[in-house]
Symmetry: C2
C-alpha cells in the first residue's frame, strides 16, 4: 500500500494540447498552460482524451513531456496518459513517465479491437506492468466506454489489484454512470484504490462517497471554482457550488468539448491559434463561437489571469 | 484516372502477423506466409485489422514492410494498412509505403474520437494526402464501423473523390451490410472507385455488381477456394462455391477470427508459435481448438502446401 501522503488526490485536468496552425504541438503554450493550471492547484493529466493525445504520435508525446520537465514542472503533479492501442507504445510511454518520476499514469486499455475479453485486457495491462518493471509505477485505469468502447469491469479491477496491489492505484471513471463509480469506490476503495470521477459533474458525489476527486476536461477553463468545491465540499453551500459548476460545464458541452474549450481560451486570451484542433476534430465556426460566448457570459464565466496563457 | 491495368483487383488478405512467444513479430514466418499467399494468387493487405496491426507500433510495421521488400516480395501486390489514430503516424507509414511502390494503401480513419464529423474525417484524410504529396499514392478507404465506430459515409467519399480523383482509388467495405456496398459501387464505381467487399461472404455479390473482389481475413487460411470463385464466378456452380466458402468461414467465425485462424495454421503446420496473438486478443484454449478442428474437418478444410508456413 502506498503511503496516504503520496497518493494523488484533488482536481486534475486532461491538459489541452495547443497546436500551431500547421497542427504541430506548441510546447511553449503547453508549458504556460500547465503552469497556469498548477497555479490554480490543478494536477496535470497530460495526454488524456481531451488533450487529443490519441491524435499524437508517441514521439510527439515524449517531446512534450520532456519540455515540461525541462521547464521545471514538478513531475509528481503529472498523471500522463500512457495507454495506447499497441503494447510497445504503452510500454515505451509508461517507462519514460515512470523514469521521469510522475505521480501516476492514466492508462487506457487497447481500444481498437472490440468485444475483447477481461482475460485479454488483463494480459494487456499485465504486459505493460511487467515490461516497465518499476516499483514506482502507479497505474490509474481509464474507464471511458463512450469513447474507448472498452470497459474496465469490476472483475478486471479485482484481478489486477490482486496481482499488482501497490501498482494498480486507482481509476478514472468517465462512464458518466455514477452507480458504477460508487460501486467501484465501495468495492475497491478500502484497498487503497482511488476512483476519480471523470468529470466535475460528479465531484461532490465522489467526495461524499469517499473518493479522491475528479479528473475533468473543464478544469482547463474553469479551474478555480472546481478546486473551490474540492476544498469546501463539507460547507453548507456545496450543492449550490456543484450546480454552478454544472451550468458552466453545460455551456461548453453544447459543442464538442475540446473545440469549445480551445475556442474559449482563444477568446479570453486573444490568441487565435489556441482554437486549433487536430483532425478528426474540427474547430468551432463563427456562429458557434458566438453562441458559446453568449452562453458563457450568461453563467458569468471568467478565466483568472488568462493573460498568462497568451 | 488510373489506367485499368494498374488497378488492384481480385482477392486480398489482411495478412496475419506471426508473433513469437514473447509477442515480438516474427519476420521470417511473415515473409513465408506472404509468399504462400502470393503463390495462391492472394494480394497482401498487410497491417489490416486481422493482422493485429493496431497492436503494433509504427516502427514495428516499418520493419516488417522493409523485411518483405528485402525478401523480394513485389511491392505492387501490397496494399498495407497505413491509417492510424495519430496524423503523423498515418503520414509516416503512408509515405514509406508509397516510396516502396505499393499498389495501394488501405486507410482507416482516425478511430479514437467518436461522433466526429465528415468535415473532420475529410480534414484527416486530406491532411495525409497533402503531406504525402505523391502522385503515386492510391488510397482505399477502410469502412469498418463495427470495429472503428467511425463510418465512411457516401458524402465523405464524394467529397474526397472530387478533391483527389486519382488518389482516392476505392474502399474496403467491412460494414457487413451488402446494401451499403452495392450503393457505393453504383454511386462511385463509374468514376473508377473500386469497392472491395470486406469478406468473401459477399464476393459473388460484389463481382456480379461490378466490384473488384474482396479483402478478407479468411484468405489467410482458405485462399485457394476463394480465388477459385473469383476466377470462375460466371460459372454455373458459382452459388455452390459461395456456399462452401460461407461454411468454412462460419467454422472460423464461431471463435474470435484472428485467434481461430492462427490456431488452424498452428494445427496444420505443427508450429505452436503460430497460435500466439498479442493482447488484448487471446489465443484459443484447448477445448476451443478441439471444437475448431472438428468443425473444420466437417467442412473438409485443407491448407495446400501448409509445410511452406512451418
Amino acid at each position: 500500500m502506498t503511503a496516504s501522503s503520496s497518493r494523488l488526490q484533488g482536481v486534475f485536468s486532461p491538459v489541452l494540447t495547443p497546436f500551431k496552425p500547421d497542427y504541430s504541438p506548441d510546447p511553449d503554450r503547453f508549458i504556460r498552460h500547465c503552469r497556469w493550471l498548477l497555479d490554480q492547484e490543478v494536477g496535470l493529466s497530460v495526454f488524456g482524451t481531451n488533450s487529443e493525445a490519441n491524435s499524437m504520435s508517441v514521439s510527439e508525446k515524449q517531446r512534450l513531456l520532456d519540455a515540461l520537465l525541462e521547464a521545471g514542472i514538478p513531475p509528481g503533479r503529472l498523471m500522463p496518459g500512457t495507454g495506447c492501442c499497441a503494447l510497445p507504445d504503452s510500454i515505451e510511454l509508461t517507462k519514460r513517465a515512470v523514469q521521469a518520476g510522475v505521480g501516476g499514469c492514466l492508462m487506457l486499455p487497447p481500444f481498437y479491437y472490440k468485444g475483447v475479453s477481461d482475460e485479454g485486457l488483463y494480459r494487456a495491462f499485465a504486459s505493460v506492468i511487467d515490461a516497465v518493471a518499476d516499483e514506482r509505477l502507479r497505474i490509474y485505469l481509464y474507464h471511458i466506454p463512450p469513447v474507448s468502447s472498452t470497459p474496465i469491469s469490476r472483475g478486471l479491477v479485482a484481478r489486477l489489484l490482486k496481482s499488482y496491489p501497490t501498482i494498480v492505484a486507482g481509476m478514472k471513471d468517465s462512464s458518466g454512470d455514477w452507480n458504477n463509480t460508487r460501486a467501484m469506490i465501495e468495492e475497491f476503495g478500502p484497498q487503497g484504490f482511488d476512483v476519480f470521477a471523470g468529470s466535475e459533474s460528479f465531484l461532490l458525489a465522489n467526495l461524499r462517497a469517499g473518493g479522491p476527486g475528479c479528473i475533468t476536461a473543464t478544469a482547463n477553463v474553469n479551474p478555480t471554482k472546481i478546486v473551490q468545491l474540492y476544498k469546501s465540499w463539507r460547507n453548507a453551500d456545496a450543492d449550490d457550488q456543484q450546480k454552478a459548476l454544472d451550468a458552466t460545464r453545460a455551456a461548453f458541452a453544447q459543442f464538442p468539448m475540446v473545440a469549445a474549450m480551445k475556442a474559449a481560451i482563444a477568446w479570453k486570451t486573444g490568441r487565435q491559434d489556441w482554437a486549433v484542433v487536430r483532425p478528426p476534430l474540427v474547430d468551432l465556426d463563427a456562429p458557434q463561437r458566438q453562441t458559446l460566448q453568449a452562453t458563457l457570459d450568461k453563467v458569468a464565466f471568467t478565466m483568472p489571469n488568462a493573460g498568462a496563457l497568451a
